[in-house]
Subunit: 122 residues, 2 copies
Amino acid sequence: MSYEELVFDVFARNCTSRPVMDTVAGRWGILSMAALLGGTHRFNELRRRVDGVSEKMLSQTLHALERDGLVLRTVQSTIPPRVEYSLTDTGRRIATKLMELIDLVESEMPGISAAQARYDAL
Amino acid sequence: MSYEELVFDVFARNCTSRPVMDTVAGRWGILSMAALLGGTHRFNELRRRVDGVSEKMLSQTLHALERDGLVLRTVQSTIPPRVEYSLTDTGRRIATKLMELIDLVESEMPGISAAQARYDAL
DNA sequence: CGGTATCCGAGTTGATACTG
DNA sequence: CAGTATCAACTCGGATACCG
C-alpha cells in the first residue's frame, strides 16, 4: 500500500492523527515513551532518566500520553504518594517503533556529519 | 541489545543525536521526509503536499534536513529556476522508519480515543 | 518559481517557588 | 514524592514584502 492510498491522510491539515503525532514524536514524548520501554517508572525516576526535561514538560507530556491511551498512570495514595507510569499495549507498540527510530538515527550518525556543528552552534 | 547499553545515549542531555531527532521527528520534519518517500519534489509541490506548512517553516525544515545529510537539494539555474528535493540514502532509511511510525499510529487510532477530543478543543 | 527578510502576536518552554 | 503555579524568555508560525 503506497502512502497515497491512506484513508486517514497525515498530510492533511485536519488529520486526526496529527495531534497524536505531535505528542508522540515531540522531543519529550519520544524520550518518555522510550524510557518506559524499560519498565514501570515513578515520576522522578523518569525525570532523572530523561535528562534535561523540566518537571512541567514531563508532567504535561505524561498527561497527554495518558489521555491518548498510550501511558497508564497508577496512583497509590500513601504518604509519601507513589505514582507509577507504564505503557499500555498500544503504547508499547508505538514505543517499540520509536526505539527503532532512535537506534536507526544513532547508527546513521556517521552520515549526519553536520549535526555536531549545528549542536555546537547552539 | 537493550537501550541501556547504547554508547550514544539519547537520554543524555548532550547526546549528539538530539538536534537531529528534533528536526527529523518534528511535525514538519516527519511530513517532509514522508512526502519525499514518494519521490523527488519541487518546493511548491512539497508545500501543497504538506498541508498547512508555511513557506518559512518548509524552507527552514528542508535546510536543516539538508545540513543533516538527509535531503539532497538540486538547483537548475534556468528561468524560472527549478529546485528539486530528494532523499539521500541515509534519509531514505530514516524516512522509511518514519512512515512505519505513521502507519502504526494511524492503525492504532481506535485505541487513541481521546485524540479527537483533544483536537476539537483546539 | 523559489525562495529570503522582517515583523509581530501567540504559543511553548523552562527555572523557580510553592503545595498536599 | 509528585506534582501545580507563576513568570520571563524564547520560539513558532503566519503575513507581507521583496529579490534573482
